[in-house]
């Protein structure tokens, strides 16, 4: 079976610079100007056309091998691809299918699951969201209580997921559910794939403090998903979920967000006429160094991942440093604009238009989602520093 559309060429045969120019030309020419650097996550109705274009071009899965319909990029080419996406301010869609489910099924899935699920991910027909957190299982994720009971050829799921990013924009959800209530908490969990249009599922958006509706609650009331949608062994879901966390932490630890924050910061400084202020410039230099050295750490981990080696628990460092750096930048933006620090949305300042709080509202939850900074520190303390437990 062939997956996706054929690649125009073997990208890895190009020089890095030549490849960069090809990618840049595509993004500069075709990505809609009004969607560059949006202050919030975009919905599918807003950026769906762009990603369908990427799908038709065979560029939707730069991280997948060509045999599964991806671009098959080497580590350095993949980095360039992402750098150019970031440079162009190209917003993500709900891309868990590309980033997580695809690589997961390649590693743990059955041939049948790959045949069934990979092609619609490549065409963007299926868009996946993540069903992990629950009202009483946040930092203590393994305490999750959503139940899945094997009944005939199906699993019947009951329970509730929460903080599900862009669930209303997704067609499918991957769910961690308890399949063995008597086992030790990490050992009775399974990893299930569920179409969101299955009867019994209710998605309810959650409005956040920035006024956005990116998050949702997902309720499961006797939801039946085929037993064939179990990924990996029964009760073996925790290991699989953990293997995805490595991917997630390297993504959340990318220098992209703080680099974007630095651009906003400099825009704010110009608007506040502080572009030549020595105190501001010294603070800026400190943050520039934080971001530059985050990039050095990031490339170290990205190289490990690109070699196909497993990421150790030390990768948590990336997520902590990236998000905390981003917060310091966001805080300095507010400090820099002085009396405009409380203005919502786009405001006029110094002849320019800036969104003072865009970085702030993006930065605050970043130290909470994907495993809070405190949880990441707990992981490092235990698994990297080998400090004794209580």
């Amino acid at each position: 079976m062939t997956f996706g559309v054929a690649q125009e060429q073997n990208w890895n045969a190009l020089s890095d610079e030549a490849f960069r120019l090809v990618v840049r030309a595509e993004f500069e020419t075709h990505y809609p100007t009004d969607l560059r650097f949006p202050p919030r996550r975009l919905f599918w109705r807003e950026n769906g056309d762009w990603f369908r274009r990427m799908a038709a071009k065979g560029w939707i899965a730069p991280n997948w091998p060509t045999e599964f319909g991806g671009m098959g990029l080497s580590a350095s080419k993949l980095l360039i691809f992402h750098e150019e996406q970031e440079r162009g301010g190209i917003a993500r869609f709900q891309d868990h299918g590309i980033v997580m489910i695809g690589p997961l099924l390649m590693r743990y899935g059955t041939d049948e699951q790959r045949r069934h699920f990979l092609p619609p991910i490549l065409s963007c027909e299926h868009r996946w969201c993540q069903g992990y957190s629950e009202p009483n299982a946040g930092s203590d994720l393994a305490g999750l209580r959503t139940r899945a009971v094997r009944t005939g050829d199906d699993f019947v799921i009951n329970g509730q997921k929460i903080w599900t990013t862009l669930a209303m924009d997704s067609t499918h959800i991957f769910v961690l559910a308890r399949t063995d209530p008597d086992a030790k908490k990490q050992q009775g969990i399974s990893f299930l794939l569920v179409p969101l249009d299955t009867p019994g599922i209710t998605v309810r958006p959650i409005r956040d403090i920035a006024g956005h509706d990116e998050l949702a609650e997902v309720f499961f009331d006797n939801v039946r998903t085929p037993a064939a949608n179990l990924v990996g062994p029964l009760h073996g879901g925790w290991t699989i979920a953990k293997s995805l966390l490595g991917f997630e932490r390297i993504m959340l630890g990318s220098p992209k967000m703080p680099e974007y924050g630095l651009q906003l910061l400099v825009g704010a400084a110009q608007a506040a006429d502080l572009g030549n202020d020595p105190v501001f410039l010294d603070k800026l230099a400190g943050l520039q160094l934080d971001v530059a050295h985050l990039g050095d750490v990031y490339r170290h981990f990205a190289a490990i991942a690109a070699r196909g080696e497993p990421l150790g628990p030390d990768v948590s460092l990336l997520k902590i440093h990236a998000t905390e750096t981003f917060q310091r930048i966001a805080d300095l933006i507010i400090e820099t604009v002085g009396p405009l620090g409380g203005h919502a949305g786009v405001v006029a300042a110094g002849g320019a238009e800036i969104n003072v709080l865009a970085a702030y509202y993006k930065a605050r939850p970043a130290t909470i989602y994907g495993g809070s900074s405190e949880i990441q520190r707990n992981i490092i303390a235990k698994d990297v520093l080998n400090l004794p437990g209580r």
């Binding site: 410039l281 010294d282 530059a292 750490v297 460092l317 303390a381 520093l385 400090l387 004794p388």
Partner: protein, 375 residues
Amino acid sequence: MSDEHLTLLESSADAFARIRRAQPISVRVAPFVFECDAWRDIAEQGWLSTLVPESAGGLGLGVLPMTVVARALGRAAERSPVVAVGAVAVPCLAEADDPVCARAVLDAVAEGSRVATVAWQNEHGDIDHLSPSVSAQGEGASVRLLGTSRFVAAPSADLFIVAACEGVGLALYMIPRDAAGLTIVAERCADGSELALLTMDRVRGDAGTRLVGPDRAPGVLRRAIDAGLIATAAELVGVMDAVLEMTLEYLRTRRQFDAPIGSFQALRHRAVDIWMQREIAAAAVTAAGRRFDDPNTPEDDRSAAASGAKSRAASAAMLLCNQALQLHGAMGFTEEYGLGLYLNRALTLSAWLGNAVQHRGRFAVLSPFPGVGEE
């Protein structure tokens, strides 16, 4: 250089560091006296010729390998001036205008029989390599050096490579320690090592002592300083390695309230924070070393990376040492425990060649963010 070579280099440097680390604390905190035996060992390992091109009889390995050696030395809080000589002075000697003439000195320094150091900073410790407070006056055979240079490592050196303003340019002169008119005053640093304050009162500097003339001296000196910055940053990472190891061990074994104190979350999280500081500094140093060794790196990018690494390592090391001291309680404040000698080494190295704030400023100038700063 392959990863395998780097690993070999690291294990030989670690072996040396282990021996030095096994010395009694009383020796390691006593005022540093240049040790000829240790220096011979260091030279025999080839560490002083790491940055000498193969064409000049060196190993031509680059700065990245030097950082591996320096980090191992940092783990022992070793005070022998390996970086000052091997990373800063030797590259200046290797770049002499007349390489044939300078070869004998270069060989002697690389094999450890003579010690050379660079005097480039003015009395204020400015990090602009073009602003020494020594001037070369007169011409030809009657050139005289006048002025002062401070923060010069290895005051017991045989040779001082002195940066002097010459007209509107800069030149490097090689001055023996017994030169008439040269006064050397050693100033004691926190770690028991010394830096020299040189005063030059009409010290003779003729064509034979002018190592590099105004055409090339600014570039040669700047490159040598950048190498020194990256290697010193690596040494600071080594200091961090040792202090982190001591601190984690203490957290695992020290018991209070019937539990190891490393089981308390407040302290665990602080331990993670200082570990992160070490990891980030180590990544910055490695990246800067790679950038230095890449012949395609523009000069400003190289210097920006070097300053960035020094700034990072200096602030990270102080943060880590200060936290380590707190986590150890009163025990860490005793000389006998040995944390102090690393902390004192961190204080010394953080300030040498310019501190974190100075190098953040140099980074900002060399790597300006588009749209801000004076055009």
